[in-house]
Symmetry: C2
Subunit: 306 residues, 2 copies
């Protein structure tokens, strides 16, 4: 799957992942009204609105980008109907041949991480038949529990040729509270980065490993150091756009081959129509606004890397 | 909810939480067969078997213990049907007046943590009506993203009078890889523990705060230090039994008032019938075996604390 991701990035020329993190307030009124009329003004109605909204965006951008990243929390907040919408979104994106990164940030002790890995990347056997719970291509993983919390994901990745992105240095303001603490004179995130490099060493695709890392666009100097520590790991870079990261901040996250990083934007794309810049598209043109925002982001990254 | 937890611990005399972490291999054949006959040998069939199995255990132990802790990964591995079984388990336990600790180990950047907190502890408003996704009383939270990843959970706890347990020192063998790293001469988990104390300071119940901590029974010496660092936090102690923690290891996790800790056992209780000690109950007596294991665990803790 890392080979597919790299090849799709090369084909589209866009190291961009669209974060499908729907908030109810982003969804145009006509979609919400239709969904409530069909399913009721309840969790099922919200879930139907989310799926409809996502499909519009996916249809509008699927030829431009290699991947999408649905944030499961935005679905989980609406309980079971929301999680059904998550699954429908994953399945729809896969039907469009997009690489799907499930932003689930799971991580637990060994046997429990194995269950998460099974549910999101793997399969279960029941009476000789195979079933899959969710079917993402990649998921994000929290490293706080150490190797035996991450290893079960790596094992399933090897079996399924899928991948993970391990949280190394997150994009949020307080990420430094623990991640930046100095251990033997070096910040903890460097130590986690070195482990990512190690975990990925024996599960390599053609040029990059199945084990990537999450490093926030909001910390470009740290990105530079982490790029060197994990040369074979793809870096998933959140924090571009709405969180404050800019194109010029991104250059250090890439390798000299022009590869090695994929930049996420969520709000900045999926709710682009709410920005002054794209306001002329209107609510009804939310999907076209998203497409325009992707094209602008592509140009911003291209000019930064040039 | 922390007051309810404390009062139920006092009433039952059992600082014990039963981990409802079903593995398919634990579930007696007669339950599995019945479920497959009704729902098919598929994810729905497994989910039905899990709920039936859980209900048997809950019915057998609900008068003995204050709380249960379903581990969501064990349900999530079976996709949507599994998550429906998780919800049904939570709801059934609440109908029995048990305190429900959702072992979800979520944690993300601010807006995303807020969505998780809403989904598991809070509510959403849709056209003026209130809906709840899942309805646990407590959840476990991963601290790697720092204060702005934890704060949204605390905010919802204040509003809903619910609680969280933050991962401080986990029970697994490799937990030390990052958690034990020395920061200014002290291990990282002590720093996280100090933050737990701080996060809980302004959301106090009668004697304990809404913000508890997870500290593994497998690290009793660290438990002793953390007990002092977080005097007002309840400690959720996993790792007893199957993972190797013993009654005598638990004494340091408690305060002098005999309170302050609640010890989890999962496999050791729910699959007790598979142990030689309880083999005479047989598969069909799995629930009675669970009850016997709870009584033995209660005695083990009592004698350790005496």
């Amino acid at each position: 799957m890392i080979n597919k991701l790299v090849s799709k990035i090369q084909k589209t020329g866009a190291p961009i992942v669209v974060g499908l993190d729907p908030m109810l307030s982003y969804i145009p009124e006509h979609i919400v009204k239709k969904a409530y009329a069909e399913k009721g003004a309840n969790l099922e109605g919200v879930a139907a609105a989310i799926v409809e909204y996502n499909k519009g965006i996916v249809d509008a951008v699927c030829d431009l980008v290699p991947a999408v990243k649905p944030q499961i929390a935005m679905y989980e907040q609406f309980g079971i109907p929301g999680l059904i919408a998550f699954k429908e979104t994953v399945d729809y994106c896969k039907s469009k041949d997009l690489v799907v990164i499930g932003d689930i940030k799971r991580g637990d002790i060994g046997s429990t991480s194995a269950a998460y890995a099974t549910g999101h990347l793997g399969k279960v056997e029941i009476e000789g038949k195979t079933f899959r719970g969710f079917e993402e291509d990649f998921v994000t993983v929290n490293p706080y529990l150490g190797t035996d919390g991450v290893k079960p994901f790596v094992d399933v990745c090897k079996e399924e040729k899928k991948g993970i992105f391990v949280l190394v240095k997150t994009s949020n303001p307080s990420s430094g509270e623990f991640q930046d603490q100095k251990v033997d004179g070096k910040p903890l995130y460097e130590m986690v980065g070195a482990m990512v490099d190690k975990w990925g060493a024996d599960c390599m695709g053609d040029s990059y490993s199945y084990v990537g890392a999450v490093v926030g666009a909001t910390y470009p100097e740290m990105g530079k150091i982490l790029r060197d520590i994990m040369p074979k790991s793809y870096i998933l870079v959140p924090g571009y756009g709405a969180q404050g990261g800019k194109g010029k901040d991104l250059v250090h996250f890439f390798n000299k081959d022009g590869l090695g990083a994929i930049v996420n934007s969520s709000r900045g794309i999926i709710a682009a129509y709410k920005q002054e810049k794209y306001a002329s598209y209107g609510e009804s043109g939310y999907a076209d606004a998203a497409r325009a925002a992707v094209l602008d982001m592509k140009e911003d990254i291209e000019s930064a890397l040039a």
